[in-house]
Amino acid sequence: MSKPKLAIYWAASCGGCDIAILDIEDKILNVVDFFDVVFWPCAMDFKYDDVRKMEDKSITLTLFNGAIRSSENLEIAELLRQKSVLLCAFGSCASEGCIPALANLYDKKSIMDYAYKESPSTSNTENIYPQTQTIVPEGTLTLPELWNTVRSLPQVVDVDYVIPGCPPQSDQILSVVLAVIDILQNGKELPPKGTVLGSNEKSCCDECERKKDVKKIKKFVRPFEIVPDPDVCLLEQGIICLGPATRGGCGAKCVSAGVPCRGCYGLPSNIKDQGAKMASALASVIDSDDPEEIEKIINTIVDPVGTFYRFSMADSMLRRKQI
């Protein structure tokens, strides 16, 4: 009997998700023992045409990382949907936009201008910008088109499961992969469609072992400004920690190392907008009843949207800055 087929793809992503997969260490051998890896551009040389030639639904499982922000991203997302039985949004970019989706606070033109013209390290006196089509003597060269708005994978194609995290933690990846192998090997039932795999239903705070008390904040600080008490809740010390509005499952690794939660596991299932929920939680513990003082304390929050929506911009209610 032929092995089940596995595909791993990256769209608009940094490659960290692929590395996280390799971080399951020697267990990767179990994966390649069980699966036939048919497509994994980050690790091996495959061509899109190889995928186009496959039969529909011939890939058992596709782990798709990366957000959708170009015509190429969308084309491959649609292609892999067509060829896969199970399509999994893998990591924060695919499931909710992540860092690439912060581009939604700008538009394509200003991004292009900065990248190809205005950034201090760029010298582009001839005003050369990437073109979707360039005619050269040998023929026409093409590049994918970049869009104004970054979208998540579930916003463009039908997705079966979501594995959150930036990147998903390797122990969680391993448990998901082993569970999939177990299900396929023993003919067990798959979890219901739409299940968020490799995470908990409760918030990151639930996993955090720091001592938590009544929260009253007079001033917000950035982590480098103070030496935080190693045992007390970071939020109580004025450091913006997104734990209250973030899904657990990471094992609270950042907070136990003294770094505030940045929210990469995304929103817990009972809320709709991670940033708004964080704003709600954070503002309500400001220790003042005086509107002017409140305003002053709130102004100590540097970049609220970039902080609260660092990972969930594409999946948020407003999705992008209005242009």
Binding site: A276, A279, A283, P291, E295, V305, R320, K321, Q322
Partner: protein, 157 residues
């Protein structure tokens, strides 16, 4: 046809909703543009409800609660007071004019102030023109229904 702003109001049960009731029973006229959602306390108004109203097509959102010190739940309106400036900063960064969101304290006896505030806010939003969020564009009643259903336990009235 002239532009009629769609305004969602979050009214606290104990003061502002009663104030709106007083305006009604006293036959004070104010523009019908605002559709109210009754909440038990202005402290129940999560910034997400406000974003949700804008997302679904509201041109303006007004939150009304008891005067500071008068909260039925002692400090719910202070929580609202603290959330509003942060919510304004957030919507501003999303490209929505912060003046489209307003907070007012209106007591149960202030029917006339309710009338005045709603009239003024409606005129202000009318002048600002429609908020161009293109994705969803529901009618005011539908916006209130949908936002209320997301809120869970609250019915829109």
């Amino acid at each position: 046809m002239s532009f009629e702003p769609k305004i969602i109001g979050f009214l606290c049960n104990w003061c502002s909703y009663t104030g709106a009731d007083l305006a009604g029973t006293s036959r004070m006229k104010y523009p019908p543009n605002m559709v109210g959602i009754r909440v038990m306390c202005s402290g129940r108004v999560d910034p997400g409800f406000i974003l949700s109203a804008f997302q679904k097509g509201a041109d303006g959102v007004i939150v009304c609660g008891c005067h500071p010190g008068d909260c039925h739940y002692v400090e719910g309106n202070y929580k609202c007071m603290r959330r509003m400036p942060l919510t304004k900063r957030i919507i501003k960064e999303f490209g929505i004019d912060e003046n489209r969101l307003r907070l007012e304290w209106i007591s149960a006896s202030e029917g006339a102030i309710f009338q005045e505030v709603i009239t003024e806010f409606t005129n202000q939003i009318r002048e600002m023109g429609p908020l161009a969020l293109k994705e969803l564009n529901y009618q005011p009643d539908e916006i209130a229904d949908k936002v209320a259903s997301e809120m869970g336990d609250i019915t829109h009235v």
